[in-house]
């Protein structure tokens, strides 16, 4: 960069000199307009220094070109958003920057100096820290030990050194206070809510005093208020000259916070634009490489008679959900909105028999049913797509074939106890075709598939059990835009076929775009049910915070 800048400067000077020598007027005003513009441009380039340049990085995994000649330049003291579908290479690029992966070619230039980053500790030493998409705290240790892990302050007694707990406590308190984060330094991390853990990770990343902070989906489990809080922290960091690389799937967030946006697709750079020149539709169309005039498919479902009625459902755990009553009709999509911690997942898992209830009744087709386990739920033709695909959904090292058929495998047991694998394979292949799951073969282990395709396999798993009621818990979480649309299409089709669908979602547009009615929960209670076609984000927000003091 240094040489480049000197170059510009040199030319600039030469140009001036030339004019002077030419005997024309000595002020710039007399320079022709075109040339003036050039000078202005040169000036602006000089002012915006790049703190980080990732130049022409390529990275290949067996069979996949994950990054293909990608260049990313981040200016000092700016918020640089990095967007793209899942599998576009954003995380891979950041992992190359953070020293988790080693790029095959290309170079990283930091503060105009070329650097080699071989592991995360190199990156931290160079002033790059990262908030990872997946949180990996040490659960049974306290907050301060998590924050200062690997660099505990020490006290020396002669040849011995011990951890200085007092300094660690004070430093942590100061750090959290400065960031206005309400967590006690000696609280055990296992006792914190997910959003508090995320805030702790944010504090940790900031505590390195880095010049560049990579934030990989930092708001995935934060509440609206906490997101606002994070944005305040980010703006503050920006003022202090820290640059932030911000990865998110939430377009609204990006447009709100970012200065510049870099878009990637299929491991390639599409381009970098000032955020002010973009809108959501533009970003999405650049991301997917096609125009998505509509983010949601047209729904043609017609709600019919009541399929399931839930009355007065109350958890056996205090501070969980209580007195939940609602009904869902055949061919209806009932959205469930609310903030993180509104106990929506708990409620839906109780309906599926995964959690115990203290009181409440469930009626299906007007008959009272007793669901004590997923086995019972399956008998009553209920399916559940859980919130955390990796934790409770996929069986990572099992092939797609078995992952798809596992919930329905008893249907293929022949009288001699062996499996009718031909029929099973046929049925799975049909479901894979129907949902357009992209997999090289049915024998591929599911962990090698993209997030969207994994989610579709889980849909296929439940479709094979021929359910009538679908409980969907954040069905598009962590899935790229293109695959999201396909999942929406699947949901709309199911509703059209007369299936009843209860869909938890934390994404407002999704709730509004997909639901016939929206039930909103707050603090474990139901705060209202509203008509999906008339609902607004404001109304949902108002209901979602109704009982919060």
């Amino acid at each position: 960069m240094g040489t480049l800048q000197e170059d510009y400067e040199g030319k600039h000077k030469r140009r001036k000199v030339k004019h002077l020598n030419g005997g024309n007027a000595t002020c710039l005003a007399s320079v022709p307009l075109k040339k003036q513009n050039i000078i202005k441009k040169v000036n602006s380039i000089m002012m915006d220094e790049f703190i980080l340049e990732i130049n022409n990085i390529s990275k290949e995994f067996p069979g996949v070109k994950a990054l293909d000649d990608v260049t990313l330049k981040v200016k000092t003291g700016t918020i640089h958003a990095l967007v793209g579908e899942n599998g576009a290479g954003k995380s891979t690029l950041m992992k190359c920057l953070f020293g988790i992966y080693k790029p095959d070619s290309g170079q990283i230039v930091l503060n105009k100096k070329r650097v080699e980053i071989n592991n995360p500790s190199d990156a931290l030493k160079l002033g790059i820290s990262m908030i990872h998409q997946e949180l990996h705290p040490v659960p049974y240790r306290n907050v301060m030990e998590n924050i200062w892990l690997g660099r505990f302050p020490e006290k020396k007694y002669g040849p011995l050194s011990f951890v200085d707990h007092k300094k660690m406590y004070d430093d942590t308190r100061l750090l959290l206070k400065e960031l206005n984060i309400d967590i006690k330094p000696n609280e055990k991390v296992a006792n914190l809510s997910v959003s508090k853990v995320q805030l702790m990770e944010i504090a940790k990343a900031i505590s390195y005093d880095s010049k560049i902070i990579i934030m990989d989906e930092p708001t995935s489990s934060l509440t609206e208020n906490e997101v606002e809080h994070l944005f305040k922290i980010i703006k503050d960091l920006k003022k202090r000259g820290v640059s932030i690389i911000y990865i998110s799937h939430k377009m609204e967030e990006i447009l709100k916070i970012a200065d510049e946006v870099t878009i990637m697709r299929d491991g390639k750079l599409i381009g970098t634009w000032p955020a002010s020149e973009l809108n959501i539709d533009m970003i999405i169309s650049k991301m997917v490489g096609r125009d998505l005039t509509n983010r949601f498919p047209k729904r043609q479902n017609v709600p019919g008679k009541v399929k399931m009625r839930v009355e007065n459902l109350t958890s056996s755990i205090p501070n969980s959900f209580k007195n939940i009553s609602f009904e869902v009709r055949e061919g209806e999509i009932l959205g469930v909105g609310g903030l993180v911690g509104a106990q929506r997942t708990e409620m839906i898992e109780a309906i599926f028999g995964l959690r115990s209830v203290q009181a409440g009744e469930i009626f299906i087709n007007g008959e009272k049913v007793n669901i004590k386990s997923p086995i019972d739920a399956k008998k009553h033709k209920i399916a559940l797509l859980t919130e955390d695909r990796r934790l409770t959904g996929i069986i990572p090292l099992m092939p797609v074939l078995e992952n798809t058929s596992i919930a329905n495998i008893l249907k293929y047991v022949k009288p001699n106890f062996l499996l009718d694998s031909k029929k099973m394979r046929n049925d799975v292949a049909k479901a894979v075709d129907l949902l357009r799951i992209k997999t090289p073969s049915l024998n591929k282990v599911i962990k090698d598939l993209s997030g969207g395709n994994q989610q579709k396999v889980l849909f296929a798993r439940w479709l094979l059990t021929e359910p009538e009621i679908f409980l969907l818990d954040e069905p598009t979480r962590g899935i790229d835009v293109g695959a999201k649309y396909e999942i929406y299409t699947i949901i709309a089709d199911l509703a059209k076929q007369g299936k009843s669908i209860i869909m938890i979602s934390s994404e407002m547009p999704e709730l509004l775009g997909m639901s016939d009615r929206i039930m909103v929960m707050c603090e474990g209670r139901m705060s209202g049910i509203i008509d999906g076609s008339k609902a607004t984000e404001e109304e949902i927000m108002r209901l979602a915070t109704k009982f919060i003091a």
Binding site: P374, I406, I409, L419, R461
Partner: protein
């Protein structure tokens, strides 16, 4: 293009590493002493490996679920003592039950297997009902099983004397042959084939893989995980019980220390054979190869006249090296 081919070759070598390793081992030993490659050698190795195969298959079921059974050896001891004590010849001087009439051959065998099933069931209940980690649960039950075996073994008039003088029809199971093939080898092969069918062709097998692969996902999919665990530990108990019976028949006797530490051989064979330490991954042929590798090391090193204590060192190296190469299949590629 050449590079692609190389990659494929390396891939397939790493996928089938265990079988290649077995082959290399045999070739190396045969290189030192070509007489190693004979039917007698094959027969001897298979004979020595058969009970181990049955134990390893029992262990395999459990390891697949992500559990472990540290009590296998003690169950073998229990079953060996039980079956031997009821199958002595009538004219033997120190009979365990001096006045016991001649029982039908199957009865003591069934009783011994039932004892194995009882311990397995107990393990299953402790693990699935009370959610005690398998490591702890079986650590506890194995001590109990040893206690029970020793008390039984110490009953007068036996008073902890080795049980001998077993009936010919019983020892025939362990040492006899049909058409030149040892019966015990046939039994092991039959059990291995059954295990292969169960784990590849039945819902029971698929469920076992699913539970080991992601227990929560299995639960959400409507699999009765607790019942499955109960069944798996019980079936494994039956395998260990049966192996104990065969050990008694093969050696023509039994003491309360029979089978001691056999579980470690079985666990080693499974891991060397590609079973994942966290569950959900592994194949029956892999386990067989694992058992055979140790069989070949045992027999082969003695055959070429190496100090038997070297076997231990080599076995240890094999465990660590084989698993560290095999595990590469599942590591995320950097």
């Amino acid at each position: 293009m050449k590079n692609e081919n190389m990659k494929k070759i390396i891939e397939s070598i790493s996928q089938n590493f265990i079988y290649i390793f077995l082959l290399i081992l045999i070739v190396l030993i045969a290189f030192v002493n070509p007489r190693f490659l004979s039917l007698v050698t094959l027969r001897d190795i298979l004979l020595q490996s058969s009970t181990r195969v049955i134990i390893a298959i029992g262990m395999f079921c459990i390891l697949l679920t992500g559990g472990v059974d540290l009590g296998a050896g003690r169950v073998i001891g229990l079953a060996a003592v039980l079956s031997a004590s009821m199958l002595q010849t009538p004219d033997y001087a120190r009979r365990f039950f001096p006045d016991l009439p001649q029982l039908p051959l199957w009865l003591p065998i069934v009783i011994a297997i039932l004892a194995g099933i009882a311990v397995g069931l107990l393990n299953g209940i402790i693990i699935s009902k009370f959610s005690v980690p398998p490591f702890i649960a079986t650590l506890g039950t194995q001590v109990i099983a040893y206690g029970v075996t020793s008390i039984y073994f110490d009953l007068p008039p036996n008073n902890s004397q080795p049980i001998g003088g077993l009936r010919k029809d019983f020892t025939f199971i362990g040492s006899g042959s049909i058409g030149g093939v040892p019966i015990i080898v046939i039994i092991a092969i039959v059990i291995a084939v059954i295990a292969w069918i169960v784990f590849n062709k039945t819902s029971f097998g698929k469920y076992t893989y699913a539970i080991g692969g992601n227990r929560q996902a299995a639960e959400v999919s409507g699999i009765n995980v607790k019942l499955m665990l109960l069944l798996i530990y019980t079936i494994a108990g039956a395998c260990f019980g049966f192996a104990g019976v065969l050990e008694a028949a093969r050696t023509g006797g039994a003491t309360n220390n029979y089978g001691f530490m056999y579980e470690f051989d079985a666990i080693s064979a499974c891991f060397v054979g590609g079973v994942s330490t966290t569950g959900g991954v592994g194949t029956v042929p892999g386990v067989l190869a694992g058992v055979l590798i140790f069989g070949v090391i045992n027999y082969g090193l003695t055959f070429i006249g190496i100090n038997p204590y070297w076997q231990y060192i080599l076995k240890g190296i094999v465990i660590v090296v084989a698993v560290s190469i095999d595990i590469r299949k599942y590591l995320t590629r950097k």
